[in-house]
Symmetry: C2
Subunit: 260 residues, 2 copies
């Protein structure tokens, strides 16, 4: 059975028109699907309004206790429930989840030799049986980027990682397409030219692109993650523009990354 | 099959020690169960910190657009996810829901001839099949007091009403005990004497108590609702102290309201 796992970035959530176009496309995707959303700027705005200072290290938010309260409110409350309600309005029977809900994603607090990330979680495992049960009830899980340690602690967790772990964990039972949708058309040969999308990348071509330094350096971690996912049972990884979702899944837009 | 539907009030949520005692008891309840929680003072605190004014009419919060954002954050985000994580830590496989999640509780915006309540929902129906599916997956639904109108609008909804509608809707498939747990020992003959709990109230005795004005007037709507629930298929309604939950269900504490 096919399953599409689709991650949308915070830039899409922050843009009402792009988000509406994405949700139209997402609701129209036939069959089983899961949405994973990032955070967006709302958490930063709410933190500022509440006078909670924000600290970033290497682009990652340091999640102190007050920040965890804010991301839990904003990601699992505001953003998740509004996405669910908007999908319901489009006839998509969405159910919002964090990793604590149904014990669906178990994680542990990140341990790092130099950086104290705070309440940030690294994923240990997902409950594939429970998620399969929801999918068979014809529900569409919508994940906020929050997990738990099974001992009562919520943990702020990277949405790309959640999408990848879900894809890996469900790849044993489903034919999984993992989609990273964002504000670009795909993997570009020329980062300033949205028409330079590379339609298909396999391992050999990827090595060649890296050797020639033909792709934007910021793309390399995303592509490395994509190949890791492919090696652990995911059928294909697709990177492309959120508003073009149905065409991404049909291979008519974006970049499809495959293992052959 | 037996099902316990338990509502906890905001006063319990606001009290860390009482909440921990309640959650210990809730996790220990054997078999199928559902938790419905109210709001508590956190929404008021967050609204004040964000500079959003609050309006109350007849003890009900008027839910303007900014207030709806706050209750969604606080009820469905902070409170719901912390309850879920704390139940998971106690071995109870909780899953947090609003009425939008899985389209589980459909409502409409309240229409009132004189008062504009704002984004407040009155419940139309619950999805008993979906909730039964979750219960059969051995999950424990935890409801935040938020529903939706199926057209994209979230609605602030009274938690007592949600508990009652769940009890009615699930009363066809389950042998439902509906518990309103709060900071009092039960229905009291003397409102200042916690030892004056009436252990059992049937319809005839209730009429007698009302005629003699022997019970606190504030209890009457709760009891009227209890008898309405009993007439629509709920087996028993129990009112009592949140920390005594297992004893309430065993009939060893609190007031049990029955239809005979």
């Amino acid at each position: 059975m096919q399953l599409a796992i689709i991650k949308i970035g915070g830039n899409i959530i922050d843009d009402e028109a792009k988000l509406a176009a994405f949700l139209d496309g997402f609701a129209a995707v036939p069959g089983k699907k899961i949405l994973v959303h990032g955070g967006g700027k709302l958490a930063t705005k709410v933190a500022a309004a509440l006078g909670v200072g924000q600290q970033l290290v290497d682009g990652r938010r340091i999640t102190d206790t007050e920040t965890l309260k804010i991301v839990t409110m904003v990601y699992a409350g505001t953003i998740n429930k509004n996405l669910v309600a908007q999908l319901q309005a489009r006839g998509c029977d969405a159910i919002g989840l964090t990793g604590a809900d149904g014990n669906s994603i178990r994680a542990h607090k990140r341990v790092h030799p130099e950086i104290e990330y705070g309440w940030v979680g690294d994923v240990d495992s997902i409950d594939a049986a429970f998620l399969t049960g929801l999918l068979l009830l014809n529900k569409t899980p919508v994940f906020a980027p929050i997990t738990h340690d099974t001992r009562g602690q919520l943990l702020n967790t990277n949405a790309d990682t959640i999408a990848q772990e879900l894809a890996r964990g469900l790849g044993r039972s489903f034919d999984v397409s993992l989609v990273y949708s964002f504000e670009k058309s795909g993997v570009l040969l020329d980062t300033n030219d949205e028409d330079s999308v590379i339609p298909r990348i396999g391992p050999a071509y990827y090595e060649e692109l890296k050797r020639k330094q033909a792709i934007f350096a910021g793309m390399i971690p995303k592509l490395d993650n994509a190949f890791t996912a492919l090696r652990s049972g995911v059928r294909k990884v697709i990177i492309g523009r959120a508003e073009e979702l149905p065409r991404l899944l049909d291979g008519k837009a974006g970049t499809t990354i495959v293992n052959d």
